[in-house]
């Protein structure tokens, strides 16, 4: 924070009234920061205090009993994994293709680029419950998929797409132009440069894009209520309905009296997963950086 020196005059030159204003501002701002940090701590500690007792490997491996009040979350974990897989299987190729097109093949200001970028920008702002309506109408009804893992995954794919495109486009743009010039100088096609040079170099950034998307998908519930549904069974195929961790927390908390204990434990699992994925890709990102020698 280099600005502090520039903006905080030291010594006796500051006149008393101004100093009082400064002090007041500092007190207020520190108070807010403390409050925010305190609330975060409150949330996390509350979850841990009530949830840890229910947590154990049995909780992760067992099927839920008594509407979820007892037992574990095995089918919920499986559903979450399946839905994520569908989401990524659709969003990653589509998103990567769009990002590559936007950053490598068309001019930033071209009408098509503007159109794609604007559309994705609007898509990014669409509320998740609207995605739920959209998924319900299109995938569940028009496409006849019913409440299913596939319908939920497709809906989430649409939802995370703008985020993924934007982050991976940025990762590609961050690759120095030197490599593009070197490739052109060797008479390589742009696509050859993308495939063999730019994508590997941008990989850490693209992984970050992936993590952001997974995080967004894991956290989502409203878009899934009416696409993947809230059945608690172990899904046997993509055509089965199932509930994710986030929906499990919601259902237990809202619709199952006495379900708080397992809701707490599930919330911890959900938060833990989000943290774990973040950590994991940070490590992968560093590994890739080392490998390419940058």
């Amino acid at each position: 924070m280099t600005t502090r020196e520039a903006t905080a005059p030291r010594g006796a030159s500051a006149a008393p009234p101004r100093r009082r204003g400064d002090r007041l501002a500092a007190i207020l701002v520190w108070a807010v920061a403390t409050l925010v940090a305190g609330v975060l701590l409150w949330i996390v500690l509350d979850l841990l205090r009530h949830g840890l007792v229910h947590l154990g490997h049995a909780f992760l491996l067992e099927a839920p009993r008594d509407a979820g009040r007892a037992g574990g979350i095995a089918p919920v974990l499986a559903t979450t994994g399946l839905i994520l897989a569908v989401t990524l299987a659709v969003a990653v190729p589509l998103g990567l293709a769009s990002a590559i097109l936007l950053s490598e093949f068309i001019r930033r200001g071209s009408a098509f680029a503007q159109f794609v970028r604007r559309s994705l920008e609007v898509l990014a702002g669409v509320p998740s419950i609207v995605f739920g309506l959209f998924g319900n109408a299109l995938f569940v009804h028009y496409f006849g998929m019913g409440y299913s893992v596939a319908a939920g995954g497709l809906t989430l794919a649409c939802m995370v797409l703008p985020l993924f495109v934007r982050a991976s486009e940025e990762a590609l743009r961050a690759v120095p132009d030197d490599y593009r010039r070197a490739a052109a100088g060797l008479g390589l096609t742009r696509f050859a440069a993308v495939r063999s040079v730019l994508l590997p170099v941008a990989l850490p950034g693209i992984l970050v894009a992936l993590v952001l998307s997974v995080g967004r998908a894991l956290a989502e519930a409203a878009a899934l209520l009416f696409t993947s549904g809230y059945v608690m069974r172990m899904p046997e195929s993509l055509a089965d309905s199932g509930r994710t961790l986030a929906i499990h927390v919601y259902e237990l908390a809202m619709n199952v009296p006495g379900g708080e204990g397992n809701a707490y434990a599930t919330a911890i699992v959900l938060l833990g997963l989000l943290l774990l994925i973040n950590l994991g890709t940070a490590l992968i990102g560093r590994h890739v950086l080392v490998r390419t020698g940058e």
Partner: protein, 288 residues
């Protein structure tokens, strides 16, 4: 195939993919419109003139006043933004100007962590911690105020992170010039940094507002979901989003269509906000 031919094929497939990605938003609008047609045709003004919200599959069998839900959404959103905007901005200022470097870095991580917590967990926390607290103040506890607090917490990181990046974009030389004039720290912030970052901060608040309008389950879990125009902040209410979430499961016919219509309202509100934010940002670029 020659490399040039392959390349052309590649570009066309990439274009196809990008077009598909861009078409999704159009598809959403189109589907919502199509599904809303029965409601628009059969209900129209009844959405505001009916006596209450007692939906039925056929328009003639029920009453469909969505005004309370619209009021609920606006009230909750406004309250959340009124709380989150100053707190988020203060957080950004803390990071940028007040905290020692190490603390600022940790604090930023912490805010990012808050931004990553799923809405459902905020809602759950609100349900098990805040609702009993507020209920002690005045039952039932699940109320507009509870929703406002939970939602404010949820959107605060958005305001904080985006405002901070706007503040970071303020050229160093402006701040140095202010320091050279002997301005106090607060004088520099109020007189130079905030005005220079104004459009970025406004954009941050607008985007956070969009998030607040669209948030569903966190609100459902703490707002009580009673269809009424609340006479005080401590009374329960229902939001447009929550209404959809609670009733889509069994809705059919005109009822279902009315829910899609409320989705359309939400979408239009959020699109307007996005457009406003884009316009403000474009404005700033012109000046730069």
């Amino acid at each position: 195939m020659s490399p040039a031919r392959t390349e052309r094929a590649v570009v066309w497939s990439l274009r196809g993919a990008a077009l598909a990605a861009a078409a999704i938003v159009g598809l959403i609008v189109a589907l919502l419109l199509v599904e809303s047609i029965p409601a628009i045709r059969n209900l129209a003004l009844r959405l505001v003139t009916d006596s209450g919200w007692y939906p039925a599959p056929a328009a003639t069998d029920g009453s469909f006043r969505i005004t309370p839900m619209v009021v609920g959404t606006l009230l909750i959103t406004a309250g959340a933004v009124v709380i989150a905007a100053p707190l988020g901005l203060a957080s950004a200022l803390f990071c940028r100007f007040f905290a020692p470097p190490g603390v600022a870095a940790i604090y930023r991580r912490l805010v990012e962590l808050l931004a990553g917590i799923p809405g459902v967990i905020y809602g759950f926390w609100g349900l098990v911690v805040l609702v009993p607290l507020i209920s002690a103040l005045r039952p039932p506890g699940a109320s507009v105020l509870t929703a406002i607090v939970v939602l404010a917490l949820m959107i605060l990181p958005t305001v904080a992170l985006l405002s901070e990046s706007a503040l970071r974009d303020v050229p160093q030389r402006h701040l140095q010039a202010a320091a050279a004039l002997g301005l106090s720290r607060w004088g520099t912030i109020a007189g130079v940094a905030l005005p220079a970052a104004r459009s970025g901060i406004v954009t941050a608040v607008i985007l956070a507002t969009g998030r607040a309008i669209g948030e569903t389950l966190a609100v459902v879990m703490v707002v009580g979901n009673i269809v009424q125009i609340p006479s005080s902040l401590l009374q329960p209410a229902r939001a447009l989003t929550g209404n959809i979430a609670l009733e889509m499961g069994y809705a059919s016919g005109d009822h279902r269509s009315a829910l899609f219509f409320s989705g359309l309202i939400l979408l239009v509100l959020v699109m307007l906000l996005t457009a406003l934010a884009a316009w403000l940002r474009g404005d700033e670029h012109d000046h730069a």
